[in-house]
Protein backbone atom coordinates (compact mmCIF):
# COMPACT_ATOMS: atom_id res chain seq x y z
CA UNK A 1 0.00 0.00 0.00
CA UNK A 2 1.11 3.54 -0.71
CA UNK A 3 0.22 6.15 1.89
CA UNK A 4 0.87 9.66 0.66
CA UNK A 5 -0.06 13.20 1.66
CA UNK A 6 -2.60 15.03 -0.46
CA UNK A 7 -0.25 17.96 -1.06
CA UNK A 8 2.27 15.60 -2.70
CA UNK A 9 -0.42 14.04 -4.89
CA UNK A 10 -1.45 17.55 -5.94
CA UNK A 11 2.16 18.41 -6.84
CA UNK A 12 2.56 15.25 -8.93
CA UNK A 13 -0.72 15.86 -10.76
CA UNK A 14 0.11 19.54 -11.33
CA UNK A 15 3.47 18.56 -12.85
CA UNK A 16 1.79 16.01 -15.12
CA UNK A 17 -0.79 18.57 -16.26
CA UNK A 18 1.86 21.22 -16.86
CA UNK A 19 3.97 18.97 -19.09
CA UNK A 20 1.04 17.47 -21.01
CA UNK A 21 1.13 16.31 -23.85
CA UNK A 22 4.69 15.24 -23.00
CA UNK A 23 5.21 12.75 -20.20
CA UNK A 24 6.26 14.22 -16.85
CA UNK A 25 8.48 12.40 -14.35
CA UNK A 26 10.04 12.74 -10.95
CA UNK A 27 10.33 11.24 -7.51
CA UNK A 28 9.21 11.73 -3.95
CA UNK A 29 12.10 11.07 -1.62
CA UNK A 30 11.76 9.95 1.96
CA UNK A 31 13.95 8.79 4.83
CA UNK A 32 15.66 5.50 3.92
CA UNK A 33 13.67 2.53 5.13
CA UNK A 34 10.65 4.62 6.19
CA UNK A 35 8.43 3.90 3.16
CA UNK A 36 7.18 7.48 3.67
CA UNK A 37 7.29 9.89 0.73
CA UNK A 38 8.14 13.39 1.94
CA UNK A 39 10.22 15.48 -0.47
CA UNK A 40 8.79 16.15 -3.94
CA UNK A 41 11.38 16.45 -6.71
CA UNK A 42 10.19 17.14 -10.27
CA UNK A 43 12.68 15.92 -12.85
CA UNK A 44 13.08 17.01 -16.42
CA UNK A 45 12.05 14.45 -19.03
CA UNK A 46 15.23 14.28 -21.12
CA UNK A 47 13.25 12.49 -23.85
CA UNK A 48 10.66 15.34 -24.07
CA UNK A 49 8.22 12.90 -25.56
CA UNK A 50 4.50 12.07 -25.34
CA UNK A 51 5.37 8.34 -25.30
CA UNK A 52 8.66 8.07 -23.40
CA UNK A 53 10.39 9.46 -20.35
CA UNK A 54 13.93 9.34 -19.12
CA UNK A 55 15.64 11.22 -16.31
CA UNK A 56 18.57 13.33 -17.48
CA UNK A 57 21.61 11.27 -16.44
CA UNK A 58 23.45 14.14 -14.78
CA UNK A 59 20.36 15.42 -12.98
CA UNK A 60 19.76 11.87 -11.76
CA UNK A 61 23.32 11.52 -10.42
CA UNK A 62 23.06 14.84 -8.59
CA UNK A 63 19.76 13.82 -7.00
CA UNK A 64 20.96 10.31 -6.08
CA UNK A 65 24.12 11.76 -4.46
CA UNK A 66 21.99 14.27 -2.60
CA UNK A 67 19.66 11.51 -1.34
CA UNK A 68 22.70 9.51 -0.22
CA UNK A 69 23.99 12.50 1.75
CA UNK A 70 20.58 13.01 3.39
CA UNK A 71 20.02 9.30 4.03
CA UNK A 72 16.99 9.31 1.76
CA UNK A 73 15.74 7.07 -1.00
CA UNK A 74 13.28 7.39 -3.88
CA UNK A 75 10.13 6.14 -2.14
CA UNK A 76 7.94 7.10 -5.10
CA UNK A 77 8.99 7.23 -8.75
CA UNK A 78 6.25 8.83 -10.82
CA UNK A 79 5.56 9.51 -14.46
CA UNK A 80 2.55 10.35 -16.58
CA UNK A 81 0.85 8.73 -19.51
CA UNK A 82 -0.77 11.36 -21.65
CA UNK A 83 -2.98 9.32 -23.99
CA UNK A 84 -3.40 5.96 -22.25
CA UNK A 85 -4.44 4.59 -18.89
CA UNK A 86 -2.33 4.89 -15.76
CA UNK A 87 -0.95 1.38 -16.04
CA UNK A 88 2.73 0.42 -16.60
CA UNK A 89 3.60 -0.06 -20.27
CA UNK A 90 5.81 -2.90 -21.48
CA UNK A 91 8.71 -0.45 -21.55
CA UNK A 92 7.96 0.68 -17.99
CA UNK A 93 8.09 -2.92 -16.83
CA UNK A 94 11.24 -3.80 -18.77
CA UNK A 95 13.15 -0.80 -17.43
CA UNK A 96 11.91 -0.75 -13.83
CA UNK A 97 15.07 -1.03 -11.74
CA UNK A 98 14.00 -0.01 -8.25
CA UNK A 99 12.25 -2.98 -6.64
CA UNK A 100 11.72 -1.04 -3.41
CA UNK A 101 9.98 1.94 -5.01
CA UNK A 102 6.31 2.69 -5.46
CA UNK A 103 5.86 3.33 -9.17
CA UNK A 104 3.13 5.94 -9.47
CA UNK A 105 1.38 6.39 -12.81
CA UNK A 106 -0.77 9.40 -13.57
CA UNK A 107 -2.89 9.68 -16.69
CA UNK A 108 -3.72 13.08 -18.11
CA UNK A 109 -5.71 11.72 -21.07
CA UNK A 110 -8.89 13.20 -19.60
CA UNK A 111 -8.90 16.95 -19.06
CA UNK A 112 -11.13 16.83 -16.03
CA UNK A 113 -10.50 13.54 -14.33
CA UNK A 114 -7.11 12.33 -13.24
CA UNK A 115 -6.07 8.73 -12.72
CA UNK A 116 -3.50 8.27 -9.94
CA UNK A 117 -2.41 4.65 -9.38
CA UNK A 118 0.55 2.92 -7.77
CA UNK A 119 2.42 -0.30 -8.49
CA UNK A 120 5.32 -2.43 -7.41
CA UNK A 121 7.39 -3.67 -10.33
CA UNK A 122 9.76 -6.47 -9.33
CA UNK A 123 11.52 -8.81 -11.79
CA UNK A 124 9.07 -7.93 -14.53
CA UNK A 125 6.00 -8.57 -12.39
CA UNK A 126 3.54 -5.71 -11.86
CA UNK A 127 1.42 -5.61 -8.72
CA UNK A 128 -1.06 -2.78 -8.30
CA UNK A 129 -1.43 -1.53 -4.74
CA UNK A 130 -3.96 0.52 -2.85
CA UNK A 131 -3.30 4.25 -2.55
CA UNK A 132 -4.31 5.95 0.68
CA UNK A 133 -4.29 9.73 0.50
CA UNK A 134 -4.05 11.48 3.86
CA UNK A 135 -4.12 15.15 4.81
CA UNK A 136 -1.03 14.68 6.93
CA UNK A 137 1.05 11.73 8.20
CA UNK A 138 0.79 13.23 11.71
Amino acid sequence: MLTIERALVDQIVAHARADHPDEACGIVAGPAGSDRPVRFVAMMNAARSPTFYEFDSMEQLKLWNEMDDRDEEAVVIYHSHTATEAYPSRTDIALAAEPGAHYVLVSTRDEDEVEFRSYRIVDGVVTEEEVTIVDSYA
Binding site: F55, L61, E98
Partner: protein, 90 residues
Protein backbone atom coordinates in the same frame (compact mmCIF):
# COMPACT_ATOMS: atom_id res chain seq x y z
CA UNK B 1 44.87 1.81 -4.08
CA UNK B 2 42.11 0.69 -6.34
CA UNK B 3 39.07 2.02 -8.14
CA UNK B 4 35.92 2.17 -6.09
CA UNK B 5 32.71 1.19 -7.86
CA UNK B 6 29.32 2.02 -6.32
CA UNK B 7 26.73 -0.64 -7.00
CA UNK B 8 22.98 0.08 -7.26
CA UNK B 9 20.49 -1.91 -5.18
CA UNK B 10 19.30 -3.99 -8.10
CA UNK B 11 22.80 -5.38 -8.77
CA UNK B 12 23.80 -6.03 -5.17
CA UNK B 13 22.70 -9.67 -5.45
CA UNK B 14 25.88 -10.02 -7.53
CA UNK B 15 28.13 -8.39 -4.93
CA UNK B 16 26.95 -10.23 -1.85
CA UNK B 17 24.94 -7.19 -0.85
CA UNK B 18 27.92 -4.83 -0.93
CA UNK B 19 27.11 -1.22 -1.87
CA UNK B 20 30.61 -0.65 -3.22
CA UNK B 21 33.33 -2.93 -4.56
CA UNK B 22 36.89 -2.36 -5.71
CA UNK B 23 38.60 -3.27 -8.92
CA UNK B 24 41.43 -2.41 -11.23
CA UNK B 25 42.12 -1.80 -14.89
CA UNK B 26 43.37 0.82 -17.31
CA UNK B 27 40.00 1.40 -18.95
CA UNK B 28 36.41 1.11 -17.85
CA UNK B 29 36.05 -2.03 -19.98
CA UNK B 30 39.03 -3.63 -18.23
CA UNK B 31 37.66 -2.61 -14.85
CA UNK B 32 34.33 -4.32 -15.59
CA UNK B 33 36.17 -7.47 -16.73
CA UNK B 34 38.17 -7.43 -13.49
CA UNK B 35 35.02 -7.01 -11.38
CA UNK B 36 33.39 -9.90 -13.21
CA UNK B 37 36.09 -12.27 -11.95
CA UNK B 38 34.96 -11.76 -8.35
CA UNK B 39 31.33 -10.90 -9.12
CA UNK B 40 30.35 -13.20 -11.98
CA UNK B 41 27.49 -11.88 -14.08
CA UNK B 42 28.07 -8.24 -13.20
CA UNK B 43 29.71 -7.35 -16.51
CA UNK B 44 26.85 -8.85 -18.47
CA UNK B 45 24.42 -6.48 -16.74
CA UNK B 46 26.49 -3.48 -17.82
CA UNK B 47 27.81 -4.37 -21.25
CA UNK B 48 26.48 -6.04 -24.39
CA UNK B 49 27.94 -6.70 -27.86
CA UNK B 50 27.57 -3.05 -28.79
CA UNK B 51 29.21 -1.61 -25.69
CA UNK B 52 27.67 -0.05 -22.63
CA UNK B 53 24.07 -1.19 -22.26
CA UNK B 54 21.34 1.31 -22.94
CA UNK B 55 19.60 2.49 -19.79
CA UNK B 56 22.61 1.85 -17.59
CA UNK B 57 24.31 5.05 -16.50
CA UNK B 58 27.98 4.85 -15.56
CA UNK B 59 29.78 7.84 -14.10
CA UNK B 60 33.49 8.35 -13.64
CA UNK B 61 34.14 10.89 -10.89
CA UNK B 62 30.63 12.29 -11.44
CA UNK B 63 30.93 12.52 -15.24
CA UNK B 64 28.69 10.42 -17.48
CA UNK B 65 31.10 8.12 -19.35
CA UNK B 66 28.91 8.40 -22.47
CA UNK B 67 30.28 11.95 -22.74
CA UNK B 68 33.80 10.62 -22.21
CA UNK B 69 34.95 7.55 -24.13
CA UNK B 70 32.45 4.91 -23.00
CA UNK B 71 34.14 1.61 -22.22
CA UNK B 72 37.43 3.01 -23.55
CA UNK B 73 37.44 5.72 -20.89
CA UNK B 74 40.73 5.61 -19.01
CA UNK B 75 40.54 4.96 -15.29
CA UNK B 76 43.18 5.02 -12.58
CA UNK B 77 43.67 4.17 -8.92
CA UNK B 78 41.71 6.51 -6.71
CA UNK B 79 38.94 7.08 -9.25
CA UNK B 80 35.31 6.62 -8.30
CA UNK B 81 32.85 4.89 -10.58
CA UNK B 82 29.10 4.99 -9.95
CA UNK B 83 26.58 2.74 -11.67
CA UNK B 84 22.91 3.80 -11.74
CA UNK B 85 20.13 2.18 -13.71
CA UNK B 86 18.44 4.86 -15.80
CA UNK B 87 14.99 5.87 -14.63
CA UNK B 88 13.02 5.59 -17.83
CA UNK B 89 9.97 4.08 -19.44
CA UNK B 90 7.18 4.70 -21.86
Amino acid sequence: MAIEVRIPTILRNLTGGDKAVEGKGGTLGELFADLDVRHPGLRDRLVDDKGLRKFVNVYLNDEDVRFLAGLETEVADGDNVTILPAVAGG
